[in-house]
Amino acid sequence: MSTATSLSTTNRNDLSHLGIIQSEWIKLRSLRSTWWTFAILFVITVGVGIQMSSSTSFAWLDGGLSQTGMQAAGVNAVIIGTDINVLVVSVLGVLVIASEYSTGMIRSTFTTVPQRVPALLAKSLVLAIGTFLVVALAVAITIPISIGLLAGNGIDVRLDDPHYWRAMIGSICYLVLIGLMAFGIGAILRSIAGGIAVALGLVFVAPLALGLVGGSSAPQIWLQNFVALLPFNLGRALTAHPGYADFASPGVPLQRPEGLWVLEPWQGALGLVMWVVVVFTAAIVLLKRRDA
Protein backbone atom coordinates (compact mmCIF):
# COMPACT_ATOMS: atom_id res chain seq x y z
CA MET A 1 0.00 0.00 0.00
CA SER A 2 1.19 3.50 -0.66
CA THR A 3 0.13 6.83 0.74
CA ALA A 4 -0.14 8.59 -2.60
CA THR A 5 -3.75 9.29 -3.48
CA SER A 6 -3.07 10.13 -7.12
CA LEU A 7 -5.14 13.17 -7.86
CA SER A 8 -4.10 13.21 -11.48
CA THR A 9 -6.20 10.38 -12.87
CA THR A 10 -9.46 11.45 -11.24
CA ASN A 11 -11.89 13.14 -13.56
CA ARG A 12 -14.61 15.15 -11.89
CA ASN A 13 -18.19 14.82 -13.03
CA ASP A 14 -21.38 15.61 -11.18
CA LEU A 15 -23.79 12.93 -10.16
CA SER A 16 -25.99 12.21 -13.17
CA HIS A 17 -29.17 10.23 -13.76
CA LEU A 18 -27.48 8.24 -16.49
CA GLY A 19 -24.59 7.48 -14.17
CA ILE A 20 -26.96 6.35 -11.41
CA ILE A 21 -28.79 4.06 -13.86
CA GLN A 22 -25.48 2.63 -15.03
CA SER A 23 -24.47 2.09 -11.41
CA GLU A 24 -27.68 0.19 -10.68
CA TRP A 25 -27.21 -1.86 -13.83
CA ILE A 26 -23.73 -2.89 -12.64
CA LYS A 27 -25.22 -3.77 -9.26
CA LEU A 28 -28.01 -5.86 -10.78
CA ARG A 29 -25.81 -7.91 -13.04
CA SER A 30 -22.94 -8.37 -10.58
CA LEU A 31 -25.02 -10.56 -8.25
CA ARG A 32 -25.48 -14.28 -8.80
CA SER A 33 -29.01 -14.18 -7.39
CA THR A 34 -30.06 -11.99 -10.33
CA TRP A 35 -28.84 -14.52 -12.89
CA TRP A 36 -30.38 -17.43 -11.02
CA THR A 37 -33.73 -15.67 -10.92
CA PHE A 38 -33.57 -14.69 -14.58
CA ALA A 39 -32.67 -18.28 -15.50
CA ILE A 40 -35.66 -19.60 -13.55
CA LEU A 41 -37.96 -17.06 -15.25
CA PHE A 42 -36.69 -18.16 -18.63
CA VAL A 43 -36.90 -21.90 -17.97
CA ILE A 44 -40.40 -21.71 -16.53
CA THR A 45 -41.71 -19.63 -19.44
CA VAL A 46 -40.24 -21.89 -22.12
CA GLY A 47 -40.65 -25.20 -20.25
CA VAL A 48 -44.22 -24.77 -19.10
CA GLY A 49 -45.12 -23.29 -22.50
CA ILE A 50 -43.80 -26.37 -24.31
CA GLN A 51 -45.43 -28.75 -21.84
CA MET A 52 -48.81 -27.02 -22.16
CA SER A 53 -48.60 -26.74 -25.96
CA SER A 54 -47.88 -30.44 -26.40
CA SER A 55 -50.66 -31.53 -24.06
CA THR A 56 -53.45 -29.23 -25.30
CA SER A 57 -55.86 -31.07 -27.55
CA PHE A 58 -59.54 -30.80 -28.35
CA ALA A 59 -59.74 -33.92 -30.53
CA TRP A 60 -62.46 -35.23 -28.18
CA LEU A 61 -64.74 -32.28 -28.90
CA ASP A 62 -67.51 -32.85 -31.45
CA GLY A 63 -67.16 -30.35 -34.28
CA GLY A 64 -63.81 -29.21 -32.89
CA LEU A 65 -62.89 -25.90 -31.30
CA SER A 66 -63.98 -22.59 -32.78
CA GLN A 67 -61.22 -20.40 -34.28
CA THR A 68 -61.35 -17.90 -31.38
CA GLY A 69 -61.23 -20.85 -29.02
CA MET A 70 -58.10 -22.07 -30.80
CA GLN A 71 -56.58 -18.63 -30.55
CA ALA A 72 -57.32 -18.58 -26.81
CA ALA A 73 -55.80 -22.05 -26.47
CA GLY A 74 -52.69 -20.72 -28.23
CA VAL A 75 -52.48 -17.81 -25.82
CA ASN A 76 -53.05 -20.04 -22.82
CA ALA A 77 -50.34 -22.48 -23.88
CA VAL A 78 -47.68 -19.76 -24.08
CA ILE A 79 -48.53 -17.69 -21.02
CA ILE A 80 -49.55 -20.43 -18.60
CA GLY A 81 -46.11 -20.22 -16.98
CA THR A 82 -46.86 -16.63 -16.00
CA ASP A 83 -48.95 -17.86 -13.07
CA ILE A 84 -45.79 -19.40 -11.60
CA ASN A 85 -43.50 -16.60 -12.75
CA VAL A 86 -45.37 -13.97 -10.75
CA LEU A 87 -43.89 -15.77 -7.75
CA VAL A 88 -40.38 -15.54 -9.21
CA VAL A 89 -40.59 -11.84 -10.10
CA SER A 90 -42.12 -11.06 -6.69
CA VAL A 91 -39.12 -12.61 -4.97
CA LEU A 92 -36.70 -10.86 -7.35
CA GLY A 93 -38.38 -7.48 -6.88
CA VAL A 94 -38.20 -7.68 -3.09
CA LEU A 95 -34.65 -9.09 -3.14
CA VAL A 96 -33.20 -6.34 -5.33
CA ILE A 97 -34.03 -3.61 -2.84
CA ALA A 98 -34.38 -5.34 0.54
CA SER A 99 -30.98 -7.05 0.23
CA GLU A 100 -29.36 -3.60 0.17
CA TYR A 101 -30.93 -2.91 3.52
CA SER A 102 -30.11 -6.31 5.02
CA THR A 103 -26.44 -6.07 3.96
CA GLY A 104 -25.87 -2.39 4.75
CA MET A 105 -25.17 -1.63 1.08
CA ILE A 106 -27.95 0.95 1.19
CA ARG A 107 -25.68 3.26 3.22
CA SER A 108 -23.12 3.22 0.41
CA THR A 109 -25.92 3.84 -2.08
CA PHE A 110 -27.37 6.77 -0.17
CA THR A 111 -24.06 8.45 0.64
CA THR A 112 -23.31 8.28 -3.10
CA VAL A 113 -26.78 9.47 -4.09
CA PRO A 114 -27.90 11.53 -1.09
CA GLN A 115 -31.18 12.56 -2.74
CA ARG A 116 -32.09 8.85 -2.54
CA VAL A 117 -35.12 8.92 -4.87
CA PRO A 118 -33.04 8.88 -8.10
CA ALA A 119 -31.27 5.75 -6.83
CA LEU A 120 -34.57 4.04 -6.02
CA LEU A 121 -36.05 4.90 -9.42
CA ALA A 122 -32.88 3.87 -11.27
CA LYS A 123 -32.89 0.57 -9.42
CA SER A 124 -36.52 -0.08 -10.32
CA LEU A 125 -35.84 0.89 -13.93
CA VAL A 126 -33.01 -1.61 -14.40
CA LEU A 127 -35.12 -4.28 -12.68
CA ALA A 128 -37.97 -3.55 -15.10
CA ILE A 129 -35.71 -3.56 -18.16
CA GLY A 130 -33.93 -6.74 -17.11
CA THR A 131 -37.19 -8.57 -16.40
CA PHE A 132 -38.73 -7.34 -19.63
CA LEU A 133 -35.79 -8.50 -21.74
CA VAL A 134 -35.60 -11.95 -20.17
CA VAL A 135 -39.33 -12.65 -20.33
CA ALA A 136 -39.67 -11.17 -23.84
CA LEU A 137 -36.85 -13.40 -25.07
CA ALA A 138 -38.43 -16.44 -23.41
CA VAL A 139 -41.85 -15.67 -24.91
CA ALA A 140 -40.34 -15.03 -28.35
CA ILE A 141 -38.70 -18.46 -28.25
CA THR A 142 -41.81 -20.18 -26.88
CA ILE A 143 -44.26 -18.83 -29.51
CA PRO A 144 -42.95 -20.69 -32.61
CA ILE A 145 -42.41 -23.91 -30.64
CA SER A 146 -45.90 -23.65 -29.16
CA ILE A 147 -47.53 -23.01 -32.53
CA GLY A 148 -45.76 -26.02 -34.04
CA LEU A 149 -46.76 -28.32 -31.19
CA LEU A 150 -50.37 -27.10 -31.18
CA ALA A 151 -50.63 -27.57 -34.96
CA GLY A 152 -49.62 -31.19 -34.39
CA ASN A 153 -52.58 -31.47 -32.01
CA GLY A 154 -54.99 -30.03 -34.56
CA ILE A 155 -55.07 -26.53 -33.13
CA ASP A 156 -54.22 -23.94 -35.76
CA VAL A 157 -53.18 -20.68 -34.17
CA ARG A 158 -53.31 -17.78 -36.60
CA LEU A 159 -50.80 -15.00 -36.13
CA ASP A 160 -52.92 -12.26 -37.71
CA ASP A 161 -54.94 -12.09 -34.50
CA PRO A 162 -54.15 -8.81 -32.65
CA HIS A 163 -55.66 -10.26 -29.46
CA TYR A 164 -53.04 -13.01 -29.50
CA TRP A 165 -50.17 -10.50 -29.63
CA ARG A 166 -51.79 -8.21 -27.10
CA ALA A 167 -52.00 -11.12 -24.67
CA MET A 168 -48.35 -12.00 -25.28
CA ILE A 169 -47.14 -8.46 -24.69
CA GLY A 170 -49.61 -8.18 -21.80
CA SER A 171 -48.09 -11.22 -20.08
CA ILE A 172 -44.60 -9.71 -20.33
CA CYS A 173 -45.79 -6.35 -18.95
CA TYR A 174 -47.74 -8.14 -16.23
CA LEU A 175 -44.57 -9.78 -14.89
CA VAL A 176 -42.66 -6.49 -15.10
CA LEU A 177 -45.39 -4.67 -13.17
CA ILE A 178 -45.64 -7.37 -10.49
CA GLY A 179 -41.84 -7.22 -10.12
CA LEU A 180 -42.08 -3.44 -9.65
CA MET A 181 -44.87 -3.73 -7.12
CA ALA A 182 -42.84 -6.28 -5.12
CA PHE A 183 -39.86 -3.92 -5.38
CA GLY A 184 -41.96 -1.13 -3.86
CA ILE A 185 -43.11 -3.46 -1.07
CA GLY A 186 -39.47 -4.39 -0.41
CA ALA A 187 -38.55 -0.70 -0.28
CA ILE A 188 -41.30 -0.03 2.26
CA LEU A 189 -40.57 -3.01 4.51
CA ARG A 190 -36.75 -3.04 4.05
CA SER A 191 -36.73 -6.72 4.96
CA ILE A 192 -36.29 -9.69 2.61
CA ALA A 193 -38.46 -12.07 4.61
CA GLY A 194 -41.16 -9.52 5.37
CA GLY A 195 -41.16 -8.19 1.82
CA ILE A 196 -41.51 -11.63 0.24
CA ALA A 197 -44.25 -12.61 2.69
CA VAL A 198 -46.32 -9.50 1.98
CA ALA A 199 -45.71 -9.57 -1.79
CA LEU A 200 -46.69 -13.23 -2.10
CA GLY A 201 -49.60 -12.71 0.28
CA LEU A 202 -50.93 -9.96 -1.94
CA VAL A 203 -50.16 -11.59 -5.27
CA PHE A 204 -50.97 -15.22 -4.44
CA VAL A 205 -52.71 -15.87 -1.17
CA ALA A 206 -55.27 -13.05 -1.22
CA PRO A 207 -56.79 -13.91 -4.64
CA LEU A 208 -56.71 -17.60 -3.78
CA ALA A 209 -58.43 -17.19 -0.42
CA LEU A 210 -60.95 -14.56 -1.52
CA GLY A 211 -61.45 -16.26 -4.89
CA LEU A 212 -63.42 -18.98 -3.16
CA VAL A 213 -66.27 -16.54 -2.75
CA GLY A 214 -69.03 -17.02 -5.30
CA GLY A 215 -72.74 -16.34 -5.36
CA SER A 216 -74.86 -13.46 -6.53
CA SER A 217 -75.98 -11.63 -3.37
CA ALA A 218 -75.02 -7.97 -3.19
CA PRO A 219 -72.17 -8.40 -0.62
CA GLN A 220 -70.87 -11.42 -2.55
CA ILE A 221 -70.85 -9.48 -5.80
CA TRP A 222 -69.12 -6.59 -4.05
CA LEU A 223 -66.44 -8.90 -2.70
CA GLN A 224 -65.94 -10.58 -6.07
CA ASN A 225 -65.52 -7.19 -7.70
CA PHE A 226 -62.97 -6.30 -5.05
CA VAL A 227 -61.11 -9.54 -5.77
CA ALA A 228 -61.08 -8.58 -9.46
CA LEU A 229 -58.93 -5.59 -8.49
CA LEU A 230 -56.22 -7.69 -6.87
CA PRO A 231 -52.99 -7.80 -8.92
CA PHE A 232 -53.36 -11.46 -9.90
CA ASN A 233 -56.82 -10.96 -11.37
CA LEU A 234 -55.85 -7.69 -13.04
CA GLY A 235 -53.10 -9.72 -14.68
CA ARG A 236 -55.69 -12.26 -15.79
CA ALA A 237 -57.69 -9.43 -17.36
CA LEU A 238 -54.60 -8.02 -19.07
CA THR A 239 -53.61 -11.36 -20.61
CA ALA A 240 -57.14 -12.53 -21.46
CA HIS A 241 -58.17 -13.55 -24.97
CA PRO A 242 -61.80 -12.97 -26.06
CA GLY A 243 -62.09 -16.64 -27.05
CA TYR A 244 -61.23 -17.82 -23.57
CA ALA A 245 -64.82 -18.95 -22.75
CA ASP A 246 -64.93 -21.06 -25.95
CA PHE A 247 -61.65 -22.66 -24.96
CA ALA A 248 -62.29 -23.14 -21.25
CA SER A 249 -65.84 -24.48 -21.53
CA PRO A 250 -66.51 -25.15 -25.20
CA GLY A 251 -70.13 -25.20 -26.28
CA VAL A 252 -71.43 -23.89 -22.95
CA PRO A 253 -72.44 -20.22 -22.91
CA LEU A 254 -70.88 -18.45 -19.89
CA GLN A 255 -73.34 -17.30 -17.24
CA ARG A 256 -72.34 -14.23 -15.27
CA PRO A 257 -74.32 -12.85 -12.35
CA GLU A 258 -75.65 -9.33 -12.72
CA GLY A 259 -73.29 -6.57 -11.54
CA LEU A 260 -70.09 -8.59 -11.74
CA TRP A 261 -67.25 -6.67 -13.35
CA VAL A 262 -65.55 -8.05 -16.39
CA LEU A 263 -62.42 -5.97 -16.86
CA GLU A 264 -61.06 -5.16 -20.29
CA PRO A 265 -57.33 -5.81 -20.86
CA TRP A 266 -56.54 -2.10 -20.76
CA GLN A 267 -58.38 -1.83 -17.45
CA GLY A 268 -56.26 -4.68 -16.13
CA ALA A 269 -53.11 -2.84 -17.23
CA LEU A 270 -54.32 0.41 -15.71
CA GLY A 271 -55.14 -1.35 -12.44
CA LEU A 272 -51.67 -2.89 -12.23
CA VAL A 273 -50.03 0.45 -12.98
CA MET A 274 -52.15 1.97 -10.20
CA TRP A 275 -50.90 -0.67 -7.75
CA VAL A 276 -47.32 0.16 -8.70
CA VAL A 277 -47.93 3.91 -8.42
CA VAL A 278 -49.56 3.59 -4.98
CA VAL A 279 -46.82 1.34 -3.59
CA PHE A 280 -44.06 3.53 -5.08
CA THR A 281 -45.60 6.69 -3.69
CA ALA A 282 -45.61 5.20 -0.20
CA ALA A 283 -42.04 3.92 -0.69
CA ILE A 284 -40.78 7.35 -1.82
CA VAL A 285 -42.47 9.21 1.02
CA LEU A 286 -40.93 6.82 3.54
CA LEU A 287 -37.56 6.88 1.78
CA LYS A 288 -37.25 10.63 2.19
CA ARG A 289 -38.39 10.56 5.80
CA ARG A 290 -36.59 7.62 7.31
CA ASP A 291 -33.04 7.22 8.57
CA ALA A 292 -31.08 4.80 6.43
Binding site: M1, S2, T3, A4, T5, S6, L7, T9, T10, N11, R12, N13, D14, L15, S16, G19, I20, Q22, S23, E24, I26, K27, S30, L31, R32, S33, S99, E100, T103, G104, M105, I106, R107, S108, F110, T111, T112, V113, P114, Q115, R289, D291, A292
Partner: protein
Protein backbone atom coordinates in the same frame (compact mmCIF):
# COMPACT_ATOMS: atom_id res chain seq x y z
CA UNK B 1 -14.69 22.37 7.18
CA UNK B 2 -17.46 20.53 9.00
CA UNK B 3 -19.67 22.55 11.32
CA UNK B 4 -22.33 21.31 13.70
CA UNK B 5 -24.74 23.60 15.49
CA UNK B 6 -26.91 22.32 18.35
CA UNK B 7 -26.90 18.97 16.60
CA UNK B 8 -29.30 16.60 18.33
CA UNK B 9 -30.50 13.08 17.63
CA UNK B 10 -33.07 11.28 19.74
CA UNK B 11 -34.27 7.74 19.22
CA UNK B 12 -37.53 7.64 21.13
CA UNK B 13 -36.68 8.66 24.68
CA UNK B 14 -32.97 7.97 24.26
CA UNK B 15 -30.79 10.94 23.34
CA UNK B 16 -27.85 9.74 21.25
CA UNK B 17 -26.46 13.17 20.42
CA UNK B 18 -27.34 16.00 22.75
CA UNK B 19 -27.16 19.45 21.17
CA UNK B 20 -23.50 19.42 20.24
CA UNK B 21 -21.55 22.24 18.61
CA UNK B 22 -18.21 21.67 16.98
CA UNK B 23 -16.23 22.47 13.90
CA UNK B 24 -13.66 20.40 12.05
CA UNK B 25 -11.09 22.51 10.27
CA UNK B 26 -9.39 21.69 6.99
CA UNK B 27 -5.68 20.96 6.83
CA UNK B 28 -5.35 18.84 9.94
CA UNK B 29 -6.47 15.49 11.26
CA UNK B 30 -9.28 15.89 13.74
CA UNK B 31 -9.96 12.93 15.98
CA UNK B 32 -13.42 12.13 17.21
CA UNK B 33 -12.92 10.28 20.43
CA UNK B 34 -15.35 8.64 22.77
CA UNK B 35 -16.36 5.32 24.25
CA UNK B 36 -18.70 3.03 22.34
CA UNK B 37 -22.20 4.43 22.44
CA UNK B 38 -21.03 8.02 22.92
CA UNK B 39 -22.77 9.11 19.71
CA UNK B 40 -19.78 9.28 17.34
CA UNK B 41 -21.28 7.11 14.62
CA UNK B 42 -24.67 8.77 14.90
CA UNK B 43 -23.01 12.16 14.50
CA UNK B 44 -21.09 10.98 11.43
CA UNK B 45 -24.25 9.50 9.94
CA UNK B 46 -25.99 12.85 10.38
CA UNK B 47 -23.08 14.67 8.71
CA UNK B 48 -23.58 12.63 5.53
CA UNK B 49 -27.36 12.74 5.62
CA UNK B 50 -28.10 9.10 6.46
CA UNK B 51 -29.76 10.07 9.72
CA UNK B 52 -31.92 13.14 10.00
CA UNK B 53 -31.09 15.32 13.02
CA UNK B 54 -33.93 15.68 15.53
CA UNK B 55 -32.85 19.32 15.72
CA UNK B 56 -29.84 21.43 14.85
CA UNK B 57 -27.78 21.43 11.68
CA UNK B 58 -24.55 20.11 10.35
CA UNK B 59 -22.83 21.36 7.20
CA UNK B 60 -19.77 20.55 5.14
CA UNK B 61 -18.09 23.59 3.61
CA UNK B 62 -21.21 25.55 4.44
CA UNK B 63 -23.86 23.34 2.86
CA UNK B 64 -25.72 20.24 3.88
CA UNK B 65 -24.47 16.99 2.41
CA UNK B 66 -27.65 16.27 0.44
CA UNK B 67 -27.18 19.39 -1.69
CA UNK B 68 -23.81 18.34 -3.14
CA UNK B 69 -23.89 17.86 -6.88
CA UNK B 70 -20.92 15.52 -6.78
CA UNK B 71 -20.95 13.96 -3.28
CA UNK B 72 -18.18 11.44 -4.03
CA UNK B 73 -15.80 14.25 -5.00
CA UNK B 74 -16.74 16.34 -1.99
CA UNK B 75 -16.74 13.79 0.81
CA UNK B 76 -15.28 10.33 1.21
CA UNK B 77 -17.14 8.29 3.77
CA UNK B 78 -16.26 5.15 5.67
CA UNK B 79 -19.10 4.49 8.08
CA UNK B 80 -18.67 0.82 8.65
CA UNK B 81 -16.98 -1.90 6.68
CA UNK B 82 -20.30 -3.68 6.21
CA UNK B 83 -21.88 -1.14 3.86
CA UNK B 84 -21.30 -3.60 1.01
CA UNK B 85 -23.36 -6.38 -0.56
CA UNK B 86 -21.35 -9.52 0.29
CA UNK B 87 -22.38 -11.28 -2.92
CA UNK B 88 -20.59 -8.71 -5.07
CA UNK B 89 -16.85 -8.54 -5.78
CA UNK B 90 -14.84 -5.64 -4.40
CA UNK B 91 -14.16 -4.40 -7.92
CA UNK B 92 -17.82 -4.46 -8.94
CA UNK B 93 -18.80 -2.73 -5.70
CA UNK B 94 -16.37 0.10 -6.44
CA UNK B 95 -17.34 0.20 -10.12
CA UNK B 96 -20.99 0.61 -9.21
CA UNK B 97 -20.19 3.50 -6.88
CA UNK B 98 -17.85 5.07 -9.44
CA UNK B 99 -20.45 4.84 -12.23
CA UNK B 100 -22.78 7.30 -10.46
CA UNK B 101 -20.24 10.08 -10.97
CA UNK B 102 -18.87 8.65 -14.22
CA UNK B 103 -15.53 8.07 -12.55
CA UNK B 104 -13.28 6.16 -14.92
CA UNK B 105 -12.60 2.45 -14.25
CA UNK B 106 -8.90 3.34 -14.12
CA UNK B 107 -9.55 5.17 -10.86
CA UNK B 108 -11.24 2.05 -9.46
CA UNK B 109 -8.11 0.03 -10.23
CA UNK B 110 -6.07 2.79 -8.67
CA UNK B 111 -7.85 2.78 -5.31
CA UNK B 112 -7.73 -1.03 -5.32
CA UNK B 113 -3.95 -0.79 -5.65
CA UNK B 114 -3.76 2.01 -3.13
CA UNK B 115 -5.54 -0.04 -0.46
CA UNK B 116 -3.71 -3.26 -1.23
CA UNK B 117 -6.75 -5.17 -2.45
CA UNK B 118 -5.31 -6.29 -5.83
CA UNK B 119 -5.22 -10.00 -5.00
CA UNK B 120 -8.83 -10.15 -3.73
CA UNK B 121 -10.52 -7.47 -5.86
CA UNK B 122 -12.42 -9.99 -7.99
CA UNK B 123 -13.46 -12.20 -5.10
CA UNK B 124 -16.83 -11.88 -3.50
CA UNK B 125 -16.82 -9.74 -0.37
CA UNK B 126 -18.43 -12.40 1.85
CA UNK B 127 -15.06 -14.11 2.12
CA UNK B 128 -13.31 -10.95 3.32
CA UNK B 129 -11.75 -10.58 6.75
CA UNK B 130 -12.62 -7.55 8.86
CA UNK B 131 -9.37 -5.91 7.78
CA UNK B 132 -10.02 -6.48 4.07
CA UNK B 133 -13.55 -5.14 4.47
CA UNK B 134 -12.05 -2.07 6.10
CA UNK B 135 -9.65 -1.62 3.20
CA UNK B 136 -12.55 -1.85 0.77
CA UNK B 137 -14.39 0.80 2.77
CA UNK B 138 -11.32 3.04 2.59
CA UNK B 139 -11.04 2.41 -1.15
CA UNK B 140 -14.64 3.56 -1.56
CA UNK B 141 -13.96 6.66 0.53
CA UNK B 142 -10.94 7.58 -1.62
CA UNK B 143 -12.68 6.84 -4.93
CA UNK B 144 -13.72 10.42 -5.70
CA UNK B 145 -10.48 11.97 -4.42
CA UNK B 146 -12.61 14.03 -2.01
CA UNK B 147 -11.76 17.24 -0.20
CA UNK B 148 -13.25 15.93 3.04
CA UNK B 149 -12.85 12.50 4.59
CA UNK B 150 -15.11 11.14 7.29
CA UNK B 151 -13.85 7.83 8.60
CA UNK B 152 -15.56 5.94 11.42
CA UNK B 153 -13.08 3.70 13.25
CA UNK B 154 -10.84 3.33 10.17
CA UNK B 155 -8.19 1.19 11.86
CA UNK B 156 -10.71 -1.26 13.28
CA UNK B 157 -9.61 -4.78 12.32
CA UNK B 158 -6.46 -3.70 10.49
CA UNK B 159 -3.11 -5.36 11.07
CA UNK B 160 -0.25 -3.20 12.44
CA UNK B 161 0.97 -2.46 8.93
CA UNK B 162 -2.53 -1.34 7.94
CA UNK B 163 -2.83 0.82 11.05
CA UNK B 164 0.43 2.55 10.17
CA UNK B 165 -0.76 3.05 6.63
CA UNK B 166 -4.05 4.64 7.72
CA UNK B 167 -2.17 7.00 10.04
CA UNK B 168 0.17 8.11 7.27
CA UNK B 169 -2.69 8.36 4.82
CA UNK B 170 -4.78 10.52 7.17
CA UNK B 171 -1.85 12.84 7.89
CA UNK B 172 -0.89 12.99 4.23
CA UNK B 173 -4.42 13.89 3.17
CA UNK B 174 -4.64 16.58 5.83
CA UNK B 175 -1.26 17.97 4.77
CA UNK B 176 -2.73 18.43 1.28
CA UNK B 177 -5.27 20.77 2.85
CA UNK B 178 -8.15 18.35 3.15
CA UNK B 179 -10.52 18.04 6.07
CA UNK B 180 -9.90 14.70 7.78
CA UNK B 181 -12.29 13.63 10.53
CA UNK B 182 -11.79 10.21 12.01
CA UNK B 183 -13.27 8.51 15.00
CA UNK B 184 -11.86 6.03 17.44
CA UNK B 185 -12.54 4.76 20.91
CA UNK B 186 -8.80 4.40 21.53
CA UNK B 187 -6.99 7.41 22.95
CA UNK B 188 -3.57 5.98 22.10
CA UNK B 189 -4.60 5.68 18.45
CA UNK B 190 -5.85 9.24 18.35
CA UNK B 191 -2.78 10.60 20.11
CA UNK B 192 -0.63 9.22 17.31
CA UNK B 193 -2.79 10.31 14.39
CA UNK B 194 -4.76 13.43 15.25
CA UNK B 195 -3.65 16.96 15.93
CA UNK B 196 -6.96 18.09 17.26
CA UNK B 197 -9.47 16.15 19.34
CA UNK B 198 -13.17 16.35 19.89
CA UNK B 199 -14.06 14.12 22.81
CA UNK B 200 -17.63 12.89 23.00
CA UNK B 201 -19.29 11.25 25.98
CA UNK B 202 -22.94 10.33 26.32
CA UNK B 203 -23.84 12.50 23.34
CA UNK B 204 -22.05 15.62 24.56
CA UNK B 205 -18.79 17.30 23.66
CA UNK B 206 -16.50 16.87 26.67
CA UNK B 207 -13.47 18.50 25.13
CA UNK B 208 -12.58 20.24 21.89
CA UNK B 209 -8.92 21.18 21.85
CA UNK B 210 -5.48 20.32 20.45
CA UNK B 211 -4.32 16.85 21.47
CA UNK B 212 -1.41 18.24 23.50
CA UNK B 213 -3.72 20.49 25.50
CA UNK B 214 -6.15 17.72 26.29
CA UNK B 215 -3.33 15.46 27.39
CA UNK B 216 -1.80 18.14 29.58
CA UNK B 217 -5.10 18.95 31.20
CA UNK B 218 -6.29 15.41 31.59
CA UNK B 219 -2.92 14.13 32.81
CA UNK B 220 -3.28 16.33 35.85
CA UNK B 221 -0.37 14.72 37.71
CA UNK B 222 -0.74 13.71 41.31
CA UNK B 223 1.70 12.91 44.09
CA UNK B 224 1.58 9.96 46.45
CA UNK B 225 2.67 10.93 49.96
CA UNK B 226 3.30 8.94 53.13
CA UNK B 227 3.95 10.90 56.32
CA UNK B 228 4.34 10.39 60.06
CA UNK B 229 1.00 12.08 60.63
CA UNK B 230 -1.17 11.77 57.56
CA UNK B 231 -4.13 13.63 59.06
CA UNK B 232 -2.06 16.69 59.91
CA UNK B 233 -0.41 16.69 56.51
CA UNK B 234 -3.84 16.39 54.92
CA UNK B 235 -5.09 19.47 56.74
CA UNK B 236 -1.93 21.37 55.90
CA UNK B 237 -2.12 20.59 52.18
CA UNK B 238 -5.80 21.42 51.97
CA UNK B 239 -5.00 24.79 53.55
CA UNK B 240 -2.54 25.39 50.73
CA UNK B 241 -5.03 24.56 48.00
CA UNK B 242 -4.30 20.89 47.49
CA UNK B 243 -6.88 18.29 46.63
CA UNK B 244 -6.24 15.31 48.86
CA UNK B 245 -7.58 11.77 48.80
CA UNK B 246 -6.75 8.92 51.15
CA UNK B 247 -5.41 5.98 49.18
CA UNK B 248 -4.71 3.66 52.12
CA UNK B 249 -3.87 4.10 55.78
CA UNK B 250 -1.17 6.73 56.04
CA UNK B 251 -0.97 7.30 52.28
CA UNK B 252 -2.38 10.36 50.52
CA UNK B 253 -2.88 11.18 46.88
CA UNK B 254 -2.35 14.90 46.36
CA UNK B 255 -3.25 16.98 43.37
CA UNK B 256 -2.70 20.66 42.82
CA UNK B 257 0.58 20.88 44.72
CA UNK B 258 3.83 19.69 43.19
CA UNK B 259 6.12 17.24 45.06
CA UNK B 260 8.90 19.72 46.00
CA UNK B 261 6.35 22.12 47.46
CA UNK B 262 4.79 19.30 49.52
CA UNK B 263 8.22 18.51 50.95
CA UNK B 264 8.80 22.19 51.78
CA UNK B 265 5.44 22.52 53.50
CA UNK B 266 6.06 19.39 55.56
CA UNK B 267 9.57 20.53 56.51
CA UNK B 268 8.22 23.87 57.66
CA UNK B 269 5.70 22.16 59.89
CA UNK B 270 6.77 20.92 63.29
CA UNK B 271 7.56 17.21 63.63
CA UNK B 272 6.02 16.19 60.36
CA UNK B 273 8.21 13.69 58.54
CA UNK B 274 7.70 12.63 54.94
CA UNK B 275 8.28 8.92 54.43
CA UNK B 276 7.44 8.70 50.76
CA UNK B 277 6.96 11.22 47.98
CA UNK B 278 6.14 9.82 44.54
CA UNK B 279 5.00 11.91 41.56
CA UNK B 280 2.50 9.94 39.47
CA UNK B 281 1.85 10.62 35.79
CA UNK B 282 -1.29 9.22 34.24
CA UNK B 283 -1.16 7.15 31.11
CA UNK B 284 -2.98 8.36 28.04
CA UNK B 285 -5.70 5.81 28.55
CA UNK B 286 -6.22 6.87 32.16
CA UNK B 287 -6.46 10.46 31.09
CA UNK B 288 -9.05 9.52 28.57
CA UNK B 289 -11.02 7.41 31.01
CA UNK B 290 -11.09 10.37 33.32
CA UNK B 291 -12.31 12.63 30.53
CA UNK B 292 -15.11 10.41 29.42
CA UNK B 293 -16.19 9.19 32.84
CA UNK B 294 -16.01 12.35 34.77
CA UNK B 295 -18.14 14.79 32.87
CA UNK B 296 -18.25 17.22 35.78
CA UNK B 297 -14.59 18.12 35.39
CA UNK B 298 -14.92 19.02 31.73
CA UNK B 299 -18.44 20.28 31.24
CA UNK B 300 -19.53 21.06 27.73
CA UNK B 301 -20.01 24.73 28.56
CA UNK B 302 -16.36 25.06 29.54
CA UNK B 303 -15.06 23.52 26.36
CA UNK B 304 -17.48 25.50 24.25
CA UNK B 305 -16.09 28.76 25.57
CA UNK B 306 -12.61 27.58 24.64
CA UNK B 307 -13.53 27.23 21.03
CA UNK B 308 -12.30 29.66 18.42
Amino acid sequence: MIEAHSLTKRYGSKTAVDGIDFSVAAGRVTGFLGPNGAGKSTTMRMIVGLDRPTSGTVTINGVSYATFRAPLHEVGVLLDAKAVHPGRSARNHLRALAATHRIRPARVDEVIGLTGLDSVADKRVNGFSLGMGQRLGLAAALLGDPATLILDEPVNGLDPEGVMWVRQLARGLAAEGRTVFLSSHLMSEMAQTAEHLIVLGRGRVLADAPVSEILAKASDDSVLVRASDADRLNALLVDHGGVVAHVETGQLSVRGIAAPRIAELAAAAESLVIHELTPVSKSLEEAYMQLTRDEVEYPASQTRSEKR
